[in-house]
Symmetry: C2
Subunit: 469 residues, 2 copies
């Protein structure tokens, strides 16, 4: 956050219903935890802070001269999760780093977006764990440009498609596949009928019945198991927006009132007009990559740990965050972005990825300490200090962050087990080797290292291990 | 917190109704903000964390060998305040440092209590602002030994009595006064009738009618304007506990069912038996100090900013936090303490105490920076760096925390106003004096200092000012 000139703030977790009604997010969000105070006034626990920060900045920033502005916080967020699970992975209360960016033009907002992506990439690189960056839909955040950062993990709840040949990565909502225009049309037909947001237009979605499910008209409920609704959105005429949240129970009544009909065909549908080019069926593992000529798509379960959104004026317009522009008499809503890293979720995800039967295991940059020194009760303090000093190195500030387990009344074996449980990246032991020939043992469970070294080599050996962690 | 070996933890703000029902604090507390999740399960936002931490420690600590244990956190707390006011002084959401202590015996718990008091005293001393430490009632926290830390302030909502001669300080609930046993009995009589917690005993409280309010039997509602209920508690027989929270509307019905009556007399009441020695009337400014022979009591409005409580086994018993003792086959509930400092309230209190028409003013230890260096746009960078280096001093780590206002496009006058507004303890200006004879101006609004010094004296002068702030 420092690298992109962001300033730290701390907003309240309790916010008002009124502010969320103004932004239009109040009624839509079933994950809000709501509170009434003793006067029966409506409050809620913020799941994110776009409303609060936009109102705050809008009240203080009135000119392009005060922009760009980048504000972040690290704090608790609250969501009434449908399925709380996995401890820190998905909880009602969690810790998030959230950044909000404010620019005076779309161009500078997009430059800001790229700076944030670079900072996030640097951050995730430092963890030295494989991660995926997926093109992502912006969900109900209201923007159009967005990326997700994922750790591939069987404990994940998201599905990420990636090409086995090029660097194409996308989440399941946004993933596309290459359509073979010359492919033979598949005979059987399947139709879903949806409705537009303004309830004026019925939308018939036609795909080939490759699953041979034995009916030709399928309830709207099942649409997402067969159709890529994101592709349908793109395939529809500009003035028709599909209502993806409608419930089947109200749909048939609403359809009887529509005045227009639009038909959308998958290009492999037998009746597809020659103008149909948007592939609207679901992507499956093994489908051809839409970017390169030879790649096939893989699917992985993943844990989302970061997200960048370009918001544009989604919040600045309803919350009236407006600035004067250099051209006299002109003003503009502020162009915003919001960007999050799931702090407590990273802890949970890393724990699930790197732990083994002996305990946790932490990447160097988020470990409680990079190295721990252990000795038994019979080792004298001067010896332990000598090892500590050798690892610490010359100068006032060491580049190794060390802790010494000098707890009384605990055996060396107990301390070793405890160090493994906590998951220090490197464990340094004054054991038998020390008594016999003044050699210390270096253990690194993650890299499978366990060896004795002379004291004068200790520091270099530990630093070489830490470089890889 | 480090000085007393406390470890930092971070507990969730959302807790369950069930835990608070187990401790017995759920129904009593009208300041709880309550939440229902999508399954209609009952949660609440923790106003303090005794329940959570006792349950946590009770589940992990099982032997006296693991004690003493001291755990603290710095985080948000939530209260449905009757009267939110004064910005950070009293809000639904606030920042608190809360410490919980766990000991294996009453003796070691009391030693811990004294260590915490010493650490708190050191902390408040560092702010270099006058504060009061009052003997305090422990309210609904359930303990018996407790102290409050207050800043005297007209914006306060608490009343603190202090002796003008000795060091006696107490809050309005606990304050006592010297009773002149030889004083003439005052003729007129006033009686209040309350009830015991078990609803079996009517309690008649008799005081002299020194206010001459013209009636002799007064509604229970008005009792706290005339009677020191804390003293009444002490004066009652051991097996009778007065219900101070009862409402007048239900009292007369309940009194008709009582089977016993107890009479409590103030010693100055005309009918007081010679055994009455507990002064139960309210203390007023000017009353004689109960501790020394000559002092009179003053009253001040004050802002409570810290609190220490000895809890004993108030929470460990209902929440079953029990340890094995050294004597074989013996076990004991853990002896606890809880101790808080109102972090955001200190910010608000200091702001209200030290601010003036020009802006805020911060004690050195909580200032954003200890000193700011200002120059106009024509001053070259080498000059500003020379001043910065002179103030920073030799060596890698300076004992002055400096910020340089190098914002472009802002005049020296604008920067001065902004520095006053923010309230840096010391402001160093490269102004006219610098151009004419290379002297810098040192400003300290709080101490009324504004003077020019040669560069070689700058560091010593600033350090001397900071010593006082």
């Amino acid at each position: 956050m420092k690298s992109i000139g962001a300033s730290k703030v701390s907003l309240s977790s309790i916010t008002t219903e009124a502010l969320w009604q103004q932004s239009g997010r109040y009624s839509a969000n079933s994950e809000l935890l709501r509170i009434k105070d003793r006067r029966e006034s409506g409050f809620l626990l913020s799941p994110t802070h776009e409303e609060e920060i936009t109102a705050l900045v809008g009240s203080m920033v009135h000119s392009y001269k005060d922009l760009p502005l980048r504000l972040y916080q690290i704090g608790r967020k609250y969501r009434d999760e449908r399925r709380p699970r996995g401890g820190l992975l998905r909880a009602k209360e969690f810790m998030m780093k959230d950044l909000y960016t404010f620019d005076s033009s779309p161009k500078s907002a997009l430059e800001t977006y790229e700076s944030v992506r670079e900072a996030y990439t640097n951050f995730f690189n430092e963890l030295k764990l494989p991660y995926l960056v997926a093109d992502a839909d912006s969900g109900n955040m209201g923007g159009k440009l967005s990326h997700e950062y994922h750790f591939a993990s069987p404990k994940g709840e998201d599905y990420i498609f990636s090409c086995n040949s090029c660097n194409y990565v996308a989440n399941e909502e946004l993933v596309e596949k290459k359509t073979d225009a010359a492919a033979p049309k598949i005979g059987d037909s399947l139709m879903f009928t949806g409705i537009s947001v303004d309830k004026k237009t019925a939308i018939n979605i036609h795909i080939p019945n490759s699953s041979a499910i034995g009916v030709d008209r399928v309830s709207w409920d099942g649409v997402s198991a067969f159709v890529n609704l994101h592709a349908v959105k793109k395939a529809l005429p500009k003035d028709v927006e599909i209502d993806t949240g409608i419930e089947t129970s109200t749909l048939s009544f609403l359809l009887s009132k529509t005045t227009n009909t639009v038909d959308i065909y998958d290009p492999t549908h037998p009746n597809a007009p020659s103008t149909s080019s948007m592939d609207i069926t679901l992507t499956k593992p093994g489908d051809p990559c839409p970017r390169c000529s030879t790649g096939k798509l893989n699917i992985q379960k993943a844990i989302e740990v970061g997200h960048t959104f370009h918001l544009g004026t989604r919040y600045s317009v309803p919350l009236n965050a407006v600035i004067a522009l250099p051209d006299q008499n002109l003003s503009s809503p502020i162009h915003m972005g919001c960007h999050g890293i799931g702090v407590s979720r990273i802890i949970g995800a890393v724990a699930s990825l790197l732990s083994d039967a002996k305990g946790l295991n932490w990447p160097r940059v988020i470990a409680p300490y990079e190295a721990i020194i252990l000795s038994d009760q019979k080792t004298n303090e001067a010896d332990t200090s000598e090892v500590y000093d050798a690892l610490y190195g010359e100068g006032r500030n060491s580049d190794v962050d060390i802790v010494l387990d000098d707890r009384a009344g605990k055996s060396l074996g107990w301390k070793l087990k405890d160090a493994d449980l906590i998951g220090y990246p490197v464990v340094v032991v004054l054991g038998r080797g020390w008594k016999e020939k003044r050699e210390v043992e270096i253990q690194c469970r993650r890299l499978g290292v366990k060896k004795y070294v002379e004291l004068k080599l200790l520091r270099a050996e530990v630093l070489a291990l830490l470089e890889q962690l």
